[in-house]
Amino acid sequence: MPRRLLRDRQVVEDDWRYAEELGCASHADAPHAAAPAAGPGAVILGFDQWRRERDAWTARGGRLGVLLLPEHKVEQLAPDLQRLSLVALSFPGPAEGRGYTQARLLRERYGFQDELRATGYVRIDQLFFLARCGFNSFELADGDIAVAGAAFSTFSAAYQPANDRGLALKLQHPQP
């Protein structure tokens, strides 16, 4: 069954596949997995595979994305961002928080404009914060997808500037 996710606040079927799902993930000890010559299109590669095989994948064409783990440094991906249509940041569990900073750096420092996806442990309670940091797509549990719309407006204002538009910024523009 295709994965459903929330993208730009719409429930959509995911048109991306992770390399493992396509059987084309490679590892350091088994490099150079065969890139599907004409695959289903959009593929998300792990950061290590991307670093090993980026030229081959770029030559193949089609949309490409990279999955960063919390310990990866975004600045190492920065030179490649123009070749990518998606960056996925992972949240291994409910305590993980590095992805929030990684997202802001990708958007604000490195100017990444395309899909920024949260994957892993992602529930509606995080959506307001994730969206403020620049995420626009979310792999939510099925039960959460149905009720996620309201989570983006959990709070009607914010005290601090971040990476979002349209939210009243109280600290910067105090109200009378």
Partner: protein, 555 residues
């Protein structure tokens, strides 16, 4: 004090709605214990030994009479008629019911209060000097900066899931009454090279399992950059702080492993990329925030000497002692700041009843412009009392059990809730406080000993700040029994230091006797006017240790 506008009010109400729904999902089985734990902790709710514990934020310890009255009403309606004031200027309720917590939060929201970020791995309540704005030698009132930090840190989208908790303290006077050197970040208002006001920024202080004194990251930060600089520190910490081991996750461990030089380099490099961004404060913003904390409408008075005036009438020795210990000088002539001691011998340190809270709300309206402050040492303070009214105020406080004349003395001890209330504790700190009080009930002896900070924690988490007590007591578990490790020579102020363990831990019944022996050495060896701390610093631990472990008392 800061007053909420409509946006602030909406935010706390929206938080209540969010938490009500999270509680509902948990009770309906839609959130696991672990999932709910991460959410409820960020709202100050612990599930504890007997019942949930709810910690309510009191930003930089400042309360209006209306707020204190509401805290009293909540204590009566949802708890067992009391609340516990903490070393971080908050209040904790020990007996609320989980299902009722959203209702408590709704009542708090109506008086501009909340429990946002009072626990969990996020930026906690910003604390400050309880004498802010009234102490004679202050450079500047730190509270407007605290409120700016409170706003910046509230629901900060990037820093809600940090490696570990993060505590900030701000001071504006040379004396440090906020223990800023043992905070993750300490902000000190200082004068820069050209005489302008700005900040010295410290990082990496903390207590807990690995106590560390904070180190200077920046000698002078121009004031408009406060928030962007904090953002740079938090960003480095969020990315680099350890997440694989809870006991190594505080910023102090990061600072120590990188070294202060490298840590500073990383912070400055990050800051260089964001300085001047939208977090930069403009003078109007700073001035507007300052206007919330302007002086109350003081009367034009001259200083008088109430003890002398009262002596003429009654020769009241008890009042004289209270005046000396429980009141302090005020920068405005004719005024005095009055401590409300929450250290009555037969009451758990820091506890106040619903009736006391309501009375204090009334008294603050009658005597102190309707405001009251919580101190880092778990007492309350009426900051702006006319000297001519001090005697009358004392009579009322005394009748309510709130005038124990012991501020700054041995029995003004800091103490965590301990085994009785906390699932982490090894020791019944409150019970130990009680037996210490029984042993040291002679006020003349306490006054002779002078200024001594006694701080006690029921476990390594160090909520009672034992490492920075002149005398520190730490509860340890030995084969299921409560034992106590004693340290001496710690200090929490501007000359902060960590105490030294005197030797093997002692049994509970021997704690008072051990203290008595330490104090004997002090009394024998002190020089004129020398404080306990200074005697320990001069002599070292050795003579104290020898006396304590001399046969036959402590085994």
């Amino acid at each position: 004090m800061y007053r909420y506008d409509i946006a602030d009010k909406n935010l706390v109400r929206e938080r209540v709605a969010q938490f009500r729904d999270q509680t509902r999902r948990f009770l309906a089985g839609e959130l696991s214990d672990d999932e709910f734990r991460h959410l409820r902790l960020r709202n100050g709710l612990y599930l504890q030994r007997h019942a949930p514990m709810l910690r309510v934020a009191i930003p930089y310890g400042l309360l209006s009479s209306k707020q204190l009255r509401a805290l009293g009403a909540i204590a009566r309606r949802y708890d067992r008629g009391y609340g516990h004031f903490t070393t971080r200027q908050n209040i904790q309720y020990n007996w609320p019911k989980l299902e009722q917590v959203p209702d408590i939060l709704a009542e708090l929201a109506e008086v501009e209060m909340h429990a946002i970020q009072t626990s969990g791995n996020c930026i906690r309540n910003t604390t400050s000097d309880h004498l802010a704005g009234i102490t004679p030698n202050e450079l500047q009132d730190p509270r407007p900066w605290c409120e700016l930090i409170r706003q910046w840190s509230t629901f900060h989208p990037e820093f809600t899931y940090l490696p570990r908790k993060f505590k900030i303290a701000v001071t504006g006077a040379p004396q440090d009454r906020a223990a800023s050197l043992v905070h993750d970040v300490g902000v000190h208002i200082v004068r820069g090279p050209d005489g302008q006001l700005g900040f010295e920024i410290l990082a990496g202080g903390g207590l807990g399992r690995t106590p560390v004194i904070g180190q200077v990251v920046r000698d002078f930060l121009p004031r408009e950059h406060l928030l962007s600089y904090l953002e740079a520190i938090l960003r480095v910490y969020n990315l680099e702080g350890r997440r694989d081991n809870l006991t190594k996750a505080r910023i102090k461990i990061l600072v120590r492993s990188l070294g202060i030089g490298e840590f500073k380099k990383r912070v400055e490099a990050e800051w260089a990329l964001i300085r001047g961004n939208a977090l930069t404060l403009d003078p109007e913003q700073i001035e507007r925030m300052g206007s919330f904390f302007g002086p109350p409408p003081y009367r034009q008075l001259s200083d008088i000497d109430p003890p002398a005036a009262v002596d003429a009438l009654a020769g009241n020795r008890e009042f004289r002692a209270w005046y000396r210990y429980n009141t302090v000088a005020h920068k405005v002539p004719g005024y005095r700041a009055v401590y409300v001691s929450l250290k009555k011998p037969d009451v758990a340190p820091g506890d106040a009843t619903d009736v006391q809270m309501e009375l204090l709300a009334d008294l603050s309206e009658r005597y102190s412009f309707g405001e009251i402050r919580v101190t880092h040492t778990q007492n309350l303070l009426l900051a702006d009392v006319e000297q001519g009214a001090v005697f009358e105020l004392w009579q009322t406080l005394r009748a309510a059990g709130l005038a124990t004349p012991n501020i700054g003395t041995l029995t003004d001890m800091i103490c965590c809730p301990g085994l009785d209330f906390c699932s982490l504790a090894n020791a019944g700190s409150i019970e130990v406080a009680k037996i210490i009080n029984e042993r040291f009930e002679d006020f003349d002896y306490l006054y002779d000993l002078g200024e001594i900070d006694l701080k006690m924690s029921g476990c390594m988490n160090a909520c009672g700040h034992h490492h920075v007590g002149n005398i520190g007591i730490l509860g340890v578990d030995k084969g299921g029994e409560e034992w106590y490790q004693i340290t001496i020579g710690g200090a929490a102020g501007a000359d902060a230091s960590l105490g030294t363990v005197i030797g093997p831990s002692v049994a509970k019944a021997q704690v008072p006797d051990t203290l008595a022996r330490l104090l004997e050495v002090y009394v024998e060896q002190r020089e004129p006017e020398e404080r306990f701390l200074d005697t320990v610093r001069r002599l070292g631990v050795k003579p104290f240790k020898e006396r304590v472990y001399a046969a036959p008392a402590a085994a």
